[in-house]
Symmetry: C2
Subunit: 313 residues, 2 copies
Amino acid sequence: MPTRLSGVLAPVVTPFKRDLSPDAARYVGHCKWLLANGCRGLAVFGTNSEANSLSVDERMTLLETLVQEGVPAEKLMPGTGTCALTDSVRLTAHAVSLGCGGVLMLPPFYYKGVSDDGLFRSFAEVIERVADSRLQLYLYHIPPVSQVPITLGLIERLLARYPGTVAGVKDSSGDWSNTKAMLDAFAKSGFDVFAGSEVFLLQNMRHGGKGCITATGNINPAAINRLFERWQAPEADALQNDITATRNVLQKYPMMAALKAVIAHWGRDPEWVTVRPPLVELAPEQTNSLVAELGARNFDMPGLGPTLAAALA
Amino acid sequence: MPTRLSGVLAPVVTPFKRDLSPDAARYVGHCKWLLANGCRGLAVFGTNSEANSLSVDERMTLLETLVQEGVPAEKLMPGTGTCALTDSVRLTAHAVSLGCGGVLMLPPFYYKGVSDDGLFRSFAEVIERVADSRLQLYLYHIPPVSQVPITLGLIERLLARYPGTVAGVKDSSGDWSNTKAMLDAFAKSGFDVFAGSEVFLLQNMRHGGKGCITATGNINPAAINRLFERWQAPEADALQNDITATRNVLQKYPMMAALKAVIAHWGRDPEWVTVRPPLVELAPEQTNSLVAELGARNFDMPGLGPTLAAALA
């Protein structure tokens, strides 16, 4: 079995052109910047990627472009969970065929109040239909958005039935006690728990977790990776406090529009601000205060402009 | 402009084969039975159709099959609202090109807490990209499931910008005061309000509504249509009480699995029970009690077996 993904992963924001089509050149540029600046993996097509605003074909084309342009497939953990069984199978099989290090799978999220039996059957159908021992499946627990939770009981059943395939979880519940319960129950079974925010990175590492998959990994990967590398060092708590403070600035704003505004500003590339409906861009006054607050923290994204310019050339 | 849809519409349940692929023959048969037994239109690909468990291509293929098999396109109001702008555009343009009487459009429903500005932009982008004056767009308000509401303010903006295209709403809030507010605000502007359940059919008609689009239209269309036709007659309240009582039986069970169990039983066609994950079939004891309760009400689906058998021949 290849080495599992660990460390800081960014749910890579997806740039759009003014006509709202995906901007492949900027996308490749940003992915390469992230890998050069602290991300050990890329959870492309996550919530903060506006992945659910993309069609299946749009996602597949972008993923193929990344690999063709030299982004190592083993560092990719694309989101492949959709409402429709057939779409989830298609995206997952495609990711595995490209050699992706894993997939991050939402439960089907349209129907609410569904049973663990139904969710087990859903994940099981995908695994059985993909039928590829290379598949490393990470469950995506994000009840504030999906409204469909991944319970401990469901994880237990999936791990028992598909050991070696069910590889871990991203816990975006925002509830440390839930992450802790997942760690306590499953970390020793080789089930890799990623916190859904760097706010919980140090706690997660201290209890046997593997890292974090975090929105702000898109803009602050070096500092977050520094904590990942030094979580056992004396300065770990200070490093945690620093990245938490930066996160707290971002959380005052709609996250996806804010991330894009930050990339547009520090990358000197105004096109980056575009989001797909139903999201909206930050208002100018929001952008100004966000930039001012980050600037006051000496925030920077070194190399962002030149790297992107090179990728776009 | 052609006559607008009105009366009782069923969000047609989608039959699946044992391998979970859509069963086109049973689908056509059920659609024809519905139109012969009280439905004046078919809201295919609604919530109760498990439409969000189907891929875009699966939906398009099924819709083409219906039209090819002689279901009048002008009676069809397919669901075309998805999370992804590009998918919603593709499904809507396809429905219009086939001559469908309307489309029933969910808002993009993955991201929660989105603004009316973002939702306006989402619907507007679909309308602008489809760019076809034949489009009759019905908004689908179902906050218990989508978690993303269609507010009165959003309707007002869409109606002002796209009069003649924004044709109405299905209100599945389950809150009569909301349906009443929509009727009071917009019914006189030619905005057609459909109740999302027959429980509100009589009230809806008395306040200027156009009918209902209801799950139980799949199994009880004749009785519901009788009230639609006689809502001004002296027996209207008695007819309402009767269909409400039948609805109340169904609502004790998971609706989609229950509808399929009823069709399987009264159509003498056990294959019908299959649902796609994340849904699960009724347990045998649930089916038994459901059938017994409906039987005690002298419930029947006349002609269901033979019609289906003919369609399948």
